[in-house]
Structure formats: C-alpha cells, structure tokens
Symmetry: C2
Amino acid sequence: MLIGIDIGGTKASALLVDPTTWAIVGRERTTSEGDGPTLVDNLARMVDGLRERSPTPVRAVGLGIAGLAGRSGTLAWSPNLPGAVGHPVGPDLERAVGLPVAVGNDATTATLAEARLGAGRDCDDFAMVTLGTGIGGGFVLGGLLHRGANGFSGEPGHMVVSADGPVHLTGHRGPWEYYASGNALGRLGREAASAGTFPAGIQLAGSVEAITGHDVVAARAGDDPGAQAVFTGWCTEVARGVANLVVLLDLSRVVLGGGLADVGEPLRAGVAAALVGLLPGADARPVVDVVLAQLGADAGALGAALLAVEPD
Amino acid sequence: MLIGIDIGGTKASALLVDPTTWAIVGRERTTSEGDGPTLVDNLARMVDGLRERSPTPVRAVGLGIAGLAGRSGTLAWSPNLPGAVGHPVGPDLERAVGLPVAVGNDATTATLAEARLGAGRDCDDFAMVTLGTGIGGGFVLGGLLHRGANGFSGEPGHMVVSADGPVHLTGHRGPWEYYASGNALGRLGREAASAGTFPAGIQLAGSVEAITGHDVVAARAGDDPGAQAVFTGWCTEVARGVANLVVLLDLSRVVLGGGLADVGEPLRAGVAAALVGLLPGADARPVVDVVLAQLGADAGALGAALLAVEPD
C-alpha cells in the first residue's frame, strides 16, 4: 500500500492507495495550518491512522504540497503555507513515520495522476491547468512528468500575459491567474454587475461586492445571458494562457482541472472555441484536444502516491 | 560525415561535419527563396557539392527550417518560407540525394547544438532564446530536447505577454517578439529618438525613421547614454519573457542566442539583472544562469547534423 497526501493552504487530505489497482482504500483529513513541526505532527498522525487500517504494509508516502517544494522535501516558497516555509517537511516526516517520503508540488502530482490514471493517458505532450482560487498546473513532455531543475515546474498562473496589467497579490503585473482564475471569474462578474449587464449576479449574491465566481457559474447554469457573457469572456482568458503553453511546447492536449472543472462541458467547449483564434498558425496545427480532468479533488493525493513509487 | 543545413527566410547554409569530433570540415550556401521544388533542387545541389569534397562518405542529412516543420519533413507553416509551405521538403530531398534526411525547426536544432556542444552542456533544464528579427527558441527538459507533439515546440516569440498590446504581423496582440526582438529594439530606438532622448540614433541612421536595432547597439557600444537607456529597457522586455519560461518550466539556465547575442556581456548582464525582479518567489529560487550562446550562426546547421543521428 501507498499513502498520498495533498497539502493545501488550509487542509491536508491523505489517501491509502493500492498500487496494483490504484484503488483508494482509505481516507484521512487534517488541518495544514500552523508551523512546520505542527504540520509534520499532523501528517504523521494521518499516516499512522491509515497504516493501522491498511490490509497490507504501507511501503511509502508521497506529498503534493501547494508551493515550491523541491526534491529535497523542504518547502522553499509558499504563499499558501507561510508557517511551513523553510521547514524540511519531507525529511522530518520520514523520521517520524519510518517510511520513505517523496515530495512534489501539488499541481505536479495532480498532473502525474491524470497522466497515469486519468485524462492524460496515452498522451506524450500535455499540460494540466488547475483552475481554482488561482491557477496551477503541470506538464508531461515527451511522455515524462516534467519536474524542473528544482522540482518547481508548473507555475503557469504566474506567467505574465499582460505586462501593463494590474499588480497581482504576488507583486507582479498581469499574471495569467489575475485574468483566468476562479477569483478572476468573480471579478469579471462584479464588473458586469456594476455595468448593469449581470443583474442576476446581484440577485444571487445580495450585492455587487458579494458576487464570486460561484455566482457566475450558478447563474450560467440557469441560462442567464449576463452570466453566459461573463463566462465566455473568462474562457477566452483561460484560452489565452493555454495558447501560450501550446506555442511554447507544442502540446497535443490540455487537461482542465481544479474546482472550476466542475462546470464541465461548457468550460471545455468555451476554452476550446476560444483557443483556435489565439494560436498563430492554427490552420497548420493539428487541433489541440481540450479535455476535462477525470480524477477531481483526489488527483493531487493520488499523484503524490504515484510520485512515491515512480522513478524521477 | 554528416551534413546539417539551416534554412532561413532568404538563404540556406550547409555544414559538412565530422561526427566524431563535431568539427566543421566544409561549408556551402544557397538561396532558400522560391517554391518547394526549387528549394529541394538547391538543397540537393549543396549536398552533392559537399559530398564531393567529403573525405569519408556522408551518412545522413539534417535540416533546421524556419517554421513549423514536423517530423514528417513537410513544412506546415512558415511566414519566412511561404513558397515551400505544404511541400514535403524532407522526403523529396531524401529521394533526390539518396540519404536519410531528418527535419526540425531551426531554433530547435540550434538548441540541440548548444545542448551537446555549446552553452547548454551539463544542464538538464534550459531554454535557448534566439534574439534576431523575431524571437525563436527551444527547450532541453529533463536532459532531453523537447520537440513537442508535432515537432513544432519552441515558438516563444509568439507567447503573448501583453494581451492588450498592438497587433503584431502574426495578427495576434502583444507577443513577446513584438517587445523583445531585434525589430523591437529598433522601434524602441525610434521612439526614444522621437522623444528627444536618443539624438545619437538620428546621427547614426540619418533620420528617426531609419533607426534600427543595429544603431542602438552601435551607439550603446560607444557609451551613448540614450542608447544605454533604450537597451536597458529592451533587456527588461527580454527578461519578462524569460521569467515566464522559468516560472512555467523551472529552468536552471537560459542561453541567449541569435544575432543580438553578438552584443555579448552587456546583453547577458542586462537580462540577468532584470530577471531577478520579475520572478515570483525569486528569493526562494536558486539563481537562474543567464549565459550567451557559444556556437553563433552555425548552431542551427550543427544542430541539424546532430538531429540526423540522435534518436528522437
């Protein structure tokens, strides 16, 4: 058995996984808040709990961490887990539980899971793009998971797409996630509501200021034309970044994941439609497949379990 | 022996290369203008000429073509070689000369050459960025040359960095090469001259309109402060795109090539200095090495020869 743990900004989710079938045979969840030693204690308790219930011995643990998590297992940078930055989470957890611990970025592990078990199967060159509060992602290139020089690969949300754009919370102007994350969908909804073209948003949220991406999604599902227009514009912003990834890396597939992937086919179709017009030489390129992720919220932890046994 | 040919928009340059030492033992040059059959005829004549002079038999030919040149050897898209688009250049040349012919993008082959013989040696994750009339490039990722799903990988000049920017000759707004190519350096020089901050440019070129990137480079070399300011601003535009490549792919090195690399250390230092301020989490990242390409104008043809013998 293997244990894969997805460590986000507020919680850590662990899966007990059978590596012969990749079936999930157990789950645990804990908080990820607090300092590094507290995080390691909480992770160790989850690992111990899953081991007690495991039908066969647990061989290894994998961690997918929200932030720049190097192969060494130390969290180098993370706006989401400020308390644990600089802490050797991987090595300390190894000592605490007496098992080998592999460490990667959470979006990278999610990409690995989709590559082996989900929407990336049988594809040698794809990007996974996770659309949530921000934008994360990862790459499989030439059939291999790309980890990068330090294990930091796959931060597409920080790619600048509008150099004169507003300053994002990272301190940099106009990154992709400013325009195409779930937060951006909410901002576009508020802008449309302010302009009078999205009254349904105000009805749903109570005020312009209270509108979030969820309200846009809900109103769009109810066929509200204002929400549809906001959503279509946002899909174009998603496609703009996807187009950059395609021209750089000649991808044949893009897998859309993260919370916004719950929108389903309208997201997929909206991004695919906008992408064609944004690709230089589009007529000469085979169509890039835009598909939805298949593993949902389990992808990060499943991929962490895969990382524990896949050679680097 | 091997023959590597770099096919640009106006000329094709062939090298006869010894694959045991990678020494260049012969050169030929011809025009690349005209339609597909004319191009193949001209290439075949160069190959025949080099074979006659070769001390040992030529085993294979590699082509690095400016455009989207797939593994199949057909040129799918090329603003630079419009006459040859859709033509099976690789297969036709194979028939004409009776040798195996490998085909790739010219910037991709240049990247391969720098990886094996130049500034990319001993580096598993780097980008090559060629700064010329436009911007080209290529990637070595996880130690392997990345070719992409169709062999089209490495078109960083088309990466959009300013979505609201001016429409580029590709029809798309604000691509990196609009801001950071050699053409862009000329435009920045003209803008500065118009604004009165680069009088030396007018003296060199004769008029504001006649100023090119070469004039900025020449005036900068002569310590003109106006040219220095233009050049520094342009280096920041180069670094902006480099930062995108680093956050996406966690590169440890960036190799600057193309005609502008002739500027040398001021280019390298200018890009390296601007890069630090443009990388999110810069404090947490090992410094990204910014280095100059080492193979100059021969890189594309040398890499084409390498492509002819390296397994894909």
